[in-house]
């Protein structure tokens, strides 16, 4: 029973969602199932929040390595949640937009969360430079082609590419670095990406069928039978 009910639900929902695309009478049911999905998705926040609290509270309680960071995480989570739930300092009151200007939530978002997130992402530039130096070596023909393509794209994404090759006559404009960069993106890159996408799509169709027909049951925490 524990296994059969989820398999039946998966079969019914999957079949209806497929039918809703091809048969207009089933369209309404497809919409309703999408709304059910969106409602269930909201509960993922409770699950996520609960999980975060459980893991970090456990870490603090047992005073594991770097437990101080867990204190910061829980404080940040709690303060931000309170500010959003009770709309603290919100000029429009409890009915207003959670992100209204002047609210504590938006202040913390603008002055703490935003710069911290951007700083983390900006660190990538430093690591990319270091990784390029160490890993981008012309060890064989494949690596050399990759290296040349990377050079063209790097130059093509800056105005320097245009300055450096603007002397090339219009009849050979494909050789201008920005145009070469565009060609790499819309020809070899496009071909490769499309091949990958078609492969993934076929894989998704096959996996979906296995799930709908109950062949694939690993999502229930059991081995396939």
């Amino acid at each position: 029973m524990k296994r059969q009910v989820p398999v039946v639900i998966t079969f019914v929902v999957g079949t209806v969602l497929i039918l809703s695309v091809f048969f207009p009478p089933a369209e309404r049911m497809g919409e309703d199932f999408s709304i059910f999905f969106d409602i269930i998705a909201v509960f993922a926040f409770f699950l996520g929040g609960g999980n975060l609290l459980r893991i970090h509270a456990g870490k603090i309680y047992k005073k594991r390595k770097d437990w101080g960071f867990s204190v910061v995480t829980i404080c940040g989570f709690g303060i931000m949640m309170m500010a959003g739930l009770f709309k603290l300092w919100n000029p429009g009151g409890i009915a207003a937009d959670v992100a209204a200007t002047g609210s504590l939530f938006q202040l913390m978002y603008d002055w703490i969360f935003n710069p911290l997130g951007a700083s983390m992402y900006a660190l990538l530039a430093f690591y990319v430079a270091s990784a390029s130096y160490r890993a981008f070596r012309a060890k064989n023909i494949d690596a050399t082609i990759l290296l040349i393509a990377a050079f063209v794209i790097l130059l093509g994404r800056t105005p320097l590419g245009m300055y450096a090759t603007s002397w090339i006559p219009e009849s050979f404009s494909i050789m201008q670095i920005p145009n070469l960069a565009i060609w790499i993106m819309v020809s070899p890159n496009l071909a490769g990406q499309r091949a990958i996408m078609i492969g993934i799509a076929l894989g998704v169709v096959s996996m979906s069928l296995r799930l709908i027909l109950g062949v694939e049951r690993t999502y229930l925490g059991v081995d396939n039978e």
Partner: protein, 305 residues
């Protein structure tokens, strides 16, 4: 001042890189902190000295610009803020430019987000772009922020047939049936153009799969440079245009500045960030060359004996 800055930055970077090249040729590896220092210099000097470059819109960028330009006034444009603070420095200039351009053309703008973090960023666009640059535009008449709903692509699955099943009110709790901008809008199919700005999941790809293609609705996108190559397969059939990274934003801003005198003094973060990006790319390329030189010299030394 800008020229002095450019000369100074190039002198510092070129001199340093030459020194590193000589060191590498003698078989010494470059330490990671030295690479970090060079990147630090490359991105900070253009910001300090305000070094900018001229940009020209490429066809993939011009496609979006022309679409917004050629839509009749009063057309409905939906802009989805599908990103968070980590991606904001790269894609926020795009979303701000789209909002600015749409309102300058007197289009009606609907702001929403498939990311929870997008609601606050949409609110920032309302505050920093609409309210400060277009004080005559009225909330609920010329623009509206309907915010975020959980469900990722599930949200699109619903609003492609009916907005009100998912969004009963805007972010301020105002009933959508009572706002003028939503009169005549039932679903996404009533939009004249949809623009998704982001670079992760859910994002432009989901907009193509669950909204633009099934509903036959024009879609444009703005994405972080790292995810742009993955979206090229959708251009030009499913995406009318695509802004890739800071370069795409800079091209769009330069097109707006060129054609609209009122935007001559507008903030242009995209164009400003092209300076650091250009120098950082140069430094990365130089390090790749140095790395390869050192690799080949070490290889030759080994084979010699």
């Amino acid at each position: 001042m800008s020229n002095i800055g450019l000369i100074l930055s190039i002198a510092v970077i070129v001199g340093g890189l030459l020194w590193l090249t000589i060191r590498s040729l003698s078989g010494r590896e470059v330490e990671r902190r030295i690479i970090f220092l060079f990147i630090g210099i490359a991105v900070s000097i253009p910001l300090l000295f305000d070094i900018t470059f001229s940009e020209k819109a490429t066809p993939i960028v011009k496609g979006i610009y022309d679409k917004i330009e050629n839509l009749p006034s009063g057309s409905r444009i939906l802009i989805s803020f599908d990103y968070g603070p980590s991606m904001a420095p790269e894609v926020e200039p795009m979303s701000n430019a789209f909002v600015r351009h749409s309102l300058a053309k007197d289009h009606k703008v609907v702001i929403m987000g498939l990311w929870a973090t997008g609601q606050s960023l949409g609110a920032s666009a309302v505050e920093n772009v609409i309210k400060s640059e277009f004080p005559d535009k009225v909330d609920g008449v010329d623009y509206i922020n309907i915010g975020y709903k959980a469900g990722n692509q599930g949200v699109l699955n619903v609003i492609i047939t009916d907005f009100r099943k998912m969004y009963a009110t805007d972010v301020n709790g105002v009933d959508l049936d009572s706002v003028e901008i939503f009169k005549g809008i039932r679903s996404l199919k009533d939009m004249d153009l949809m623009i998704s700005v982001g670079g992760g999941f859910p994002g432009i790809k989901e907009w193509v799969l669950f909204a633009a293609d099934p509903g036959n609705i024009p879609l444009a996108g703005g994405s972080a440079a790292v995810s742009t190559p993955l979206l090229y397969p959708y251009y030009p059939k499913q995406l009318i245009g695509l802004l890739g990274g800071i370069k795409g934003a800079a091209e769009y801003e330069s097109e707006m500045k060129k054609n609209y005198p009122r935007f001559a003094d507008m903030p242009t973060p995209g164009i400003k960030m092209m300076g650091p990006q250009t120098l950082a790319h140069m430094v990365v390329m130089a390090f790749i060359i140095i790395g390869n030189l050192s690799f080949f010299f070490a290889k030759r030394k080994k084979s010699d004996g």
